[in-house]
């Protein structure tokens, strides 16, 4: 890229800067597209889960709905309420977006497709996503609106509480791999399911569950969507936002879904690892990675449309009384486990295999239950005649 720009007659520094800007814009466009498409995907899936159709009018099967929504929001009037802190009100959405977009630096798209494999990648990841809470708090405070303020406060309390179990649970994979770099963590896992971090020992599975719950809470998604609880706080911190700024908030929320999926996949589900013979096929590893990410995103959406919202005290109970002790147990348990099985690689792989088999058994049980429910659901509702005389 730089060479092409330099051949056009630019000097080294301006070529580098220009190249950076171009890469940034390209990544931002990809990022925005993912965020937009995910809104449609979520609405369609939620529709099917509620026996509805969801948006299906714009484009084939409603696939262009996100463009219509975006265009509509951009053309709306940008209102700033009187009495609000105008400066903070204006920049708050971009903090949210920046917090999510910043993770693209260490996002492991494939085994060797990564913008910068920082040696503190994971640490950077959980740090930069904390910017979101600042944006939310700013939006809540500057709106001069009680609902927005309550939403912002709740969000701050929630994200700060859940950062701790999430950070603690992420120590378990770090303990195993001994590195903080995303590339290193991905490379330490294999392509087979029982080589993945999640099935390494009972404690990694535990840490996965804690991480998953905690990251759900950090993304403000439904069992933990107290910051914008529609039934209580109108729309939480984005009550006063309209038009483009509102769109930015929502974009960052859905892009965060993708980022979460990516982090979960990279740390626990083996990233974009390929079998030995296919080594070096980066595009295939990107596809594998995206496939796993979409599976995780599906589970996230699925959870959102299954579980009702927590109360604030239940939320805090879950974080401090359940997740934090569990994270500590997982951390120390994994340390002891590593000492105990040190030098017995066969034992370790047997345990990993047993864990995987247990997981398969649970899946089979799950699908049997699904079949039972499906049979009950397909009994026609008004096939029976009701008589009113």
């Amino acid at each position: 890229m730089e060479k092409i720009l330099m051949s056009l007659g630019l000097d080294l520094i301006s070529a580098k800067v220009l190249a950076m800007i171009i890469v940034c814009i390209v990544v931002l466009l990809i990022f925005v597209t993912i965020g937009g498409v995910l809104t449609v995907v979520e609405r369609r899936i939620s529709g099917f889960m509620q026996s509805r159709l969801g948006p299906n009018r714009v484009g084939p099967q409603g696939s262009l709905q996100w463009l219509a929504d975006g265009i509509k929001l951009i053309f709306k009037e940008d209102l700033i309420p009187t009495g609000s802190d105008r400066f903070l009100f204006r920049i708050a959405p971009y903090f949210c977006l920046l917090g999510v977009f910043g993770t693209m630096v260490v996002f492991p798209w494939g085994t060797d497709v990564i913008v910068a494999d920082l040696n503190i990648g994971l640490f950077y990841f959980i740090s930069i996503t904390s910017l979101v809470v600042i944006g939310v708090l700013m939006a809540g405070w500057s709106s001069n609106n009680k609902w927005a303020l309550l939403g912002g406060m709740r969000s701050a309390a929630q994200i700060v509480s859940y950062e701790i179990p999430v950070g603690m649970s992420l120590l378990v994979p770090i303990l195993i791999t001994g590195t903080l770099s995303m590339g290193g963590i991905v490379a330490s896992q294999g392509w087979l399911p029982w080589d993945w971090m999640i099935f390494q020992s009972p404690f990694t599975l535990m840490s996965f569950v804690i991480f998953f719950i905690g990251s759900l809470a950090e993304a403000n998604r439904t069992p933990f969507d107290l910051p914008e609880a529609e039934s209580e706080l109108v729309s939480g911190y984005c009550t006063e936002y309209t038009g483009f700024r509102y769109a930015v908030f929502f974009l960052s929320e859905w892009a965060n879904l993708f980022v979460l999926g990516g982090l979960t996949t990279a740390v626990y589900l083996g990233g974009g690892n390929l079998p030995g013979i296919l080594e070096g096929w980066s595009w295939l590893s990107v596809l594998v990675f995206l496939g796993k990410v979409s599976l995780v995103i599906f589970v996230l959406i699925w959870l959102r449309w299954t579980l009702p919202r927590f109360r604030i005290d239940q939320l805090m109970d879950l974080s401090w009384k359940y997740l934090l002790p569990a994270a500590l147990i997982a951390f120390f348990g994994q340390a002891l486990y590593m000492i105990a099985t040190n030098g017995y690689p066969l034992l370790q792989s047997i345990i990993a295999g047993v864990m995987f088999l247990l997981f398969l058994f649970m899946m089979v049980k799950f699908f049997i239950r699904v079949k039972v429910n499906l049979f009950e659901m397909n009994t026609p509702v008004n096939s029976r005649a009701t008589d009113v005389s």
């Binding site: 099917f48 509805r52 699925w302 959870l303 239950r369 659901m377």
Partner: protein, 211 residues
Amino acid sequence: MSAYFENITNGFKSIFEGMSITFAAMFSRTETVQYPEVDITSNESIRKDCKGKTYKGTLMGMPDNYRGILNVDLSKCTACGLCMKACPIECIIINSVKCDKDKLADADGNPINNRFTQKGAIKTRTSTRFDINAGKCMYCGLCVMACPTEAIVHTKRFEMNTENLNDLVLRFVSDEQKEKAEKKANELEAEAAAKKAAKAAKEETSKDEGA
């Protein structure tokens, strides 16, 4: 302490069950009827929308007891006015005149019974005006219950958009029918008057004779 672990197991169990239900719902039938594109008043056409696709949901058109816009079968109506009296908001208006006596029968020739007396219904009057204001009507169904011959019924229709409020008044008797009925009634009245006059004249003559 045991309550603590019970909470955890309960949490996982309920999530397991809840997620199996939502996952099953993803593959169950979609209930959405894409309304303007399908005629949802009939069970047959709801199965196919305008694009020829088949609807697979479990809803089967309007239920049989659906209370839609009222309809009157004038061939069964005896113009008794019970529906007009039953209506709590007076959206039914009936004017009636005398007509030829007629035993009511349905299309197959079976006599129609009065629901309350269980005897064959006899038509002695015919309506010259039968208006139902669908804009006022609240679809309570009291008129349907009051009707002795089941002439007034709820249909499964519910769409009645107009640009003019007056279009919401359903007129079941046309002007021609009204004129015809009035003419017939006048004839009958004249006949009856003539009979009466003849009878009176006869009585008078008999009186005269007797005197």
